[in-house]
């Protein structure tokens, strides 16, 4: 009798611990939406949504900032380059730069560009109104496409930065995957 009770107690304990294990497994997955929400609330990683200007920016004509433009391809048969290597601007002044992509292959390919900035907190001072990275890009075989990026660097950019870099990397989107901001 006593041993039967003991076995039963042990099995109850095992069930509880197995439930806890499953809960923790689900918790690992729950960290994904939690992380996305956290970043959204904290304003981190919010790189793929158009910005709007809430107020007129004053142009800081007292200094120049050089913006270097960079383009990369990850596993795509495309050519991708900015039409100018760099632009020199005053903070607060609206800027438009052009990028060009070429599909060298014989098939239609969908790609998604992901931005990356240096210094890494640049997103706090960068307001982007139009960008090819806001949506997926579909290129027919041998198609050439030129795409603008319109943005402004806010005068809040710390004074010690004279050169900043804006970089894009194109990845292939598998057929059927929604673009990031269409989710």
């Amino acid at each position: 009798m006593a041993t039967e009770n003991k076995v039963e107690n042990n099995l109850t304990m095992m069930k509880k611990l197995l439930i806890f294990t499953v809960v923790m497994f689900v918790f690992g997955y729950a960290m994904v939406p939690f992380y996305e929400k956290f970043c959204e609330v904290a304003g981190i990683n919010n790189l793929l949504q158009p910005d709007t200007l809430t107020q007129e920016l004053e142009t800081d004509t007292g200094r120049w900032v050089t913006i270097e433009l960079d383009a990369n391809i990850r596993g795509l048969p495309w050519d991708f380059k900015p039409l100018q290597r760099s632009v020199r601007i005053h903070p607060g002044e609206p800027v438009e730069v052009m990028y060009e992509i070429v599909n060298n292959s014989d098939r239609e390919i969908t790609g998604q560009a992901i931005p990356s900035y240096s210094p890494r907190f640049l997103d706090k001072h960068l307001r982007k109104f139009e960008c090819f990275c806001f949506s997926r890009q579909v290129l027919k075989p041998k198609e050439v496409k030129q795409m603008p990026v319109q943005f402004v660097i806010e005068p809040t950019l710390p004074k010690e930065f004279h050169t900043i870099t804006i970089s894009y990397t194109f990845f292939e989107l598998p057929v059927g995957t929604p673009a990031i901001n269409e989710k």
Binding site: N10, M13, F20, V23, M24, Y35, T169, I180
Partner: protein
């Protein structure tokens, strides 16, 4: 303790079990399974050690001599994975299997069949890890933390590694469910929670950490596998995922994992120090609470591994202070061990030497941990040899030294024979010297900026690297001596004394004969 001998003679009946290989394949006996765990972890220790020797041989001189960079990266990756999941963790589970039932007066583990499964799962996992070196593309090479994008890009070797980690995780979860149930449900009458030996306490808390952290690892490994093969984009930037997310989930598992590897070591040391000081452990209840506090804190400090990955300053400050807070309960432990030794009638047999060596060197590793916790310093030393030195001080001279100490302490109880004290002391002193020679200089290398996981280095690092490599070779060779000592002990003809350590007070010494019979405590002892 007068009732001791009536119980001892109750075990006169024969220990019937299958013989030969089937004894080990089908066994559900906690002592057999503990023995298999210990031999397995020793084998994996030498496998991981072989990889470490390869790494140090390549780093002996600047330039590329022995290992091509890709293979070097596989060596560092598999060295880490094998030592963490194959050597240190199973060794502690082996100790738990042998000791927990004997120390709480239970006849066996709660789920004996599951215990057998959790051991035998380790074998395919180990084979997957080792054989991944021989598949096209080679073994995983992205570091033991398998960060994407490297781990989403590698070849078959990465899949084998991920699958192995899955199996090892399942084994750990089963093992910890078993240990928790055994400790909570199967204690002898009178063995209240606050009378349990500290080794049992630390394992109870460790087992809870395991069921908390391991499923999260299983989750993140599953996400990687679906990213690799089923077009999900958890960590793939192109599909809207984020590689930094991986680091958060991985370290949510990874930091408790660090304490999973050290808490049972605390437990072993807390058994050895009182025995050889011939005094009860100082501050027993504060030890229990300190262990619990460390376990709880370990769940909220994970992002200190990622200070350079980018996070808001508020986050950096939180994780920095939370991390530094762990030094408080850890300090409580160190002071309690010191106070236990204070004015004790101390003697310095091999287990005690390893325990004192543990305290001395673990404190160095603990302090360099506090240094790494400070954000501005961490940004400097991130991914340098300073970090390598830090975690080898806590894992080698911490976890491993405690394992050696525990092995010497309980070998007479397990085998019925005494180990060779002279050789044991030699093993300790050689380990002590070579360990420090191998790893102390790595602090300097790290502070001077030598990065980890790189097969070559700038010329100014040459001298320290040569010293470190010589120390590592010496340390590796010294461990062969340990194998010799263990085998000599098992084969010895001379029986060990019933109670070789006069200061020992736990049940396995006071209520069981030496060697411990195959079945022990079928009638539970009564603890006063």
């Amino acid at each position: 303790m007068a009732a001791v001998h009536g119980d001892v003679h109750g075990h006169g009946h024969d220990d019937h079990h299958p013989t030969g290989i089937m004894r080990w394949v089908t066994t559900t006996n906690h002592k057999d399974i503990g023995t298999m765990y210990l031999w397995f972890s020793l084998t994996m220790f030498f496998t991981g050690g072989f990889l470490a020797m390869g790494i140090r041989a390549e780093l002996f001189q600047p330039g590329i001599q022995i290992l091509e960079p890709e293979l070097f990266n596989s060596f560092t990756t598999l060295h880490g994975l094998i030592m963490v999941f194959g050597a240190i963790m199973p060794a502690f589970v082996g100790f738990a299997n042998w000791q927990v039932p004997m120390m709480i007066g239970a006849p066996d583990m709660a789920f004996a069949r599951m215990n057998n499964w959790s051991f035998w799962l380790l074998i395919p996992a180990a084979l997957l890890l080792i054989s991944s070196f021989f598949v096209p593309g080679g073994a995983a090479a992205g570091g033991w933390t398998f960060y994407p994008p490297l781990s989403t890009q590698g070849g078959l070797g990465v899949d084998m590694m991920l699958f192995a980690v899955h199996i090892l995780g399942a084994s750990s979860i089963m093992g910890s469910i078993n240990i928790i149930t055994t400790i909570l449900n199967m204690r002898a009458p009178g063995m209240t929670l606050m009378k349990m030996p500290l080794f049992v306490w630390t394992w109870l808390i460790t087992a809870y950490l395991l069921v908390l952290a391991m499923p999260v690892l299983a989750g993140v490994v599953t996400m990687l596998i679906t990213d690799r093969h089923f077009d999900t984009s958890f960590f793939n930037a192109a599909g809207g995922g984020d590689p930094v997310l991986f680091q958060h989930i991985f370290w949510f598992f990874g930091h408790p994992e660090v304490y999973i590897m050290i808490l049972p070591a605390f437990g072993i040391v807390s058994e050895i120090i009182p025995t050889f000081s011939r005094k009860p452990l100082f501050g027993y209840s504060s030890m229990v609470y300190a262990t619990a506090s460390i376990a709880i804190l370990s769940c909220i400090v994970w992002a200190h591994h990622m200070f350079t990955a980018g996070m808001p300053t508020v986050g950096q400050l939180f994780f920095m202070y939370a991390t530094m807070l762990i030094a408080v309960p850890t300090g409580v432990k160190v002071f309690n061990w010191t106070a236990t030794m204070w004015r004790g009638a101390m003697s310095f047999e091999t287990p005690m030497l390893f325990a004192i060596g543990f305290i001395f060197l673990f404190v160095i590793g603990g302090f360099s941990g506090v240094i790494c916790a400070i954000v501005p310093i961490d940004i400097q030393v991130q991914d340098t040899y300073y970090v390598i030195a830090h975690f080898h001080y806590v894992l080698v001279s911490g976890a491993l030294f405690a394992l050696f100490g525990g092995a010497y302490y309980w070998l007479p109880k397990w085998t019925g024979h005494m180990y060779d004290e002279t050789l044991g002391k030699l093993h300790f002193w050689l380990s002590m010297i070579f360990f420090n020679m191998a790893f102390f200089v790595q602090h300097f290398l790290g502070l001077a900026g030598m990065p980890r996981r790189i097969p070559d280095y700038a010329l100014q690092f040459a001298d320290f690297n040569m010293i470190s490599s010589l120390g590592a070779f010496g340390f590796g060779l010294t461990q062969l001596l340990f194998v010799y000592i263990v085998i000599k002990c098992i084969r010895s003809k001379e029986p060990a004394p019933e109670k070789p350590w006069e200061g020992a007070t736990t049940l396995e010494w006071t209520h069981l004969p030496t060697p411990a019979p195959y079945h022990s405590f079928e009638t539970p002892p009564v603890v006063k």
